[in-house]
């Protein structure tokens, strides 16, 4: 049963010539990669295009993965660099760390989201929408920590920063997320918790 194989076993099979085994890795990580690319790119079309590009790049460079880190850490490093390269190429407007800009963006979409929230009334939807109000950097580090199952050291490797800087960045991101929830979803948070 191939699905029971761990990442390194699958990689060994792919390197040995079993190209179809790579589909297992794609299935296993597509949601993580897509969620991360969506934190950068905002539109689902761009995010999906870049996510596919990431998996193609990973396949091409698979022989360079030596197992020194977790496969997911290596994969997310490629996600990070591919997204940055894509943004540079397309010169897309990214969310800046400037809080004022983030609040402006938040205010403009807040009313639409509230209507949506009443319908969905779910914890998951609220959290995901609150994350969308954050800057790319904040959303990325929160996703890596909570959903990507990465330690602070691994996040530091992915973002090419010091572990302590990753810790500080995560702390700030959580503080800003809390502020967003208190500002835009205070009632919903009370209902849900």
């Amino acid at each position: 049963m191939l699905t029971g194989l761990n990442d390194n076993e699958i990689i060994s099979k792919v390197l040995a010539g079993d190209q179809q085994a790579y589909a297992l890795l794609v299935d296993r990580y597509q949601q993580y990669v897509f969620t991360l690319t969506l934190r950068f790119l905002k539109t689902r079309e761009d995010a999906e295009e870049v996510a596919q590009d990431v998996f193609i790049k990973v396949y091409r460079s698979l022989a360079d993965f030596r197992g020194a880190s977790k496969f997911s850490t290596w994969l997310y490093t490629i996600v990070n660099t591919t997204c940055i390269t894509f943004l540079r190429k397309k010169k897309l407007e990214t969310h800046s760390l400037d809080l004022e800009k983030v609040f402006e963006a938040a205010d403009s979409i807040d009313s639409g989201m509230r209507a949506n929230l009443v319908e969905q009334k779910s914890r998951v939807a609220m959290v995901n929408q609150a994350i969308r109000l954050l800057s790319t950097e904040d959303a990325e580090i929160l996703t890596l920590f909570y959903k990507g199952e990465q330690t602070l050291e691994e996040i530091a490797t992915i973002l090419t920063i010091a572990p302590n800087a990753a810790k500080v960045r995560l702390h700030r991101a959580r503080t800003r997320l809390k502020d967003k929830m208190e500002t835009h979803f205070a009632d919903e948070v009370k209902d849900l918790l």
Partner: protein
């Protein structure tokens, strides 16, 4: 911890301490201190629950789902591709070391030769740090010598030899594939 100590007001930097406690990365002694503060200090307890709520909400967030054809699209694309050889397979460390040795030898050779040609006189240069007047050095004569020319030719031949070995190695690997 005394009762007096548990009355410590919650300050800005303490939030990081609470996050570390929630993430389970506090040291054992710090963990004990925080636990005592949470038991005895209402302000700390309220703040802890506030942060814990955010933590739990984040844990409950879900991953985004790409289109149904995602895996198929990737597999269709890679069907036309081949895995690139590992970087380490075509960058031979011996070649890199050889090039390094080549340049180090070149530099050391020139330095040794240069110093051997200088007439160092520590006594007559009391006003200068160096025992030689650099303005009066005739640099051209260092490069107009049979030994220097021979040394440079040997280095060039060694460099070409290393380059040839590197290219032959690459050609061999390519034909093997």
């Amino acid at each position: 911890m005394s009762i007096h100590q548990t009355n410590i007001p919650f300050e800005e930097g303490d939030e990081q301490r609470l996050w570390d406690y929630i993430d389970g990365i506090s040291s054992p002694s710090e963990k004990t201190v925080i636990e005592q503060l949470l038991e005895a200090n209402a302000e700390w307890k309220a703040k802890y629950h506030e942060l814990l709520d955010v933590h739990q909400l984040m844990q409950s967030s879900e991953l985004e789902q790409p289109s149904m054809r995602f895996t198929k699209n990737v597999m269709d694309e890679i069907a036309r591709l081949q895995i690139a050889p590992a970087t380490s397979s075509y960058i031979n460390k011996n070649i890199i070391r050889g090039i390094g040795i080549f340049f180090v030898t070149l530099i050391v050779g020139f330095l040794v030769y240069g110093f051997s040609q200088m007439h160092l006189d520590w006594n007559n240069h009391a006003d200068s740090v160096l025992p030689v007047n650099l303005n009066k050095v005739n640099y051209s004569r260092f490069f107009n010598n049979t030994w220097v020319n021979a040394f440079m030719i040997v280095n060039i031949v060694a460099g070409l030899f290393l380059l040839d070995r590197y290219l032959a190695n690459k050609r061999k690997k390519f034909t093997e594939k």
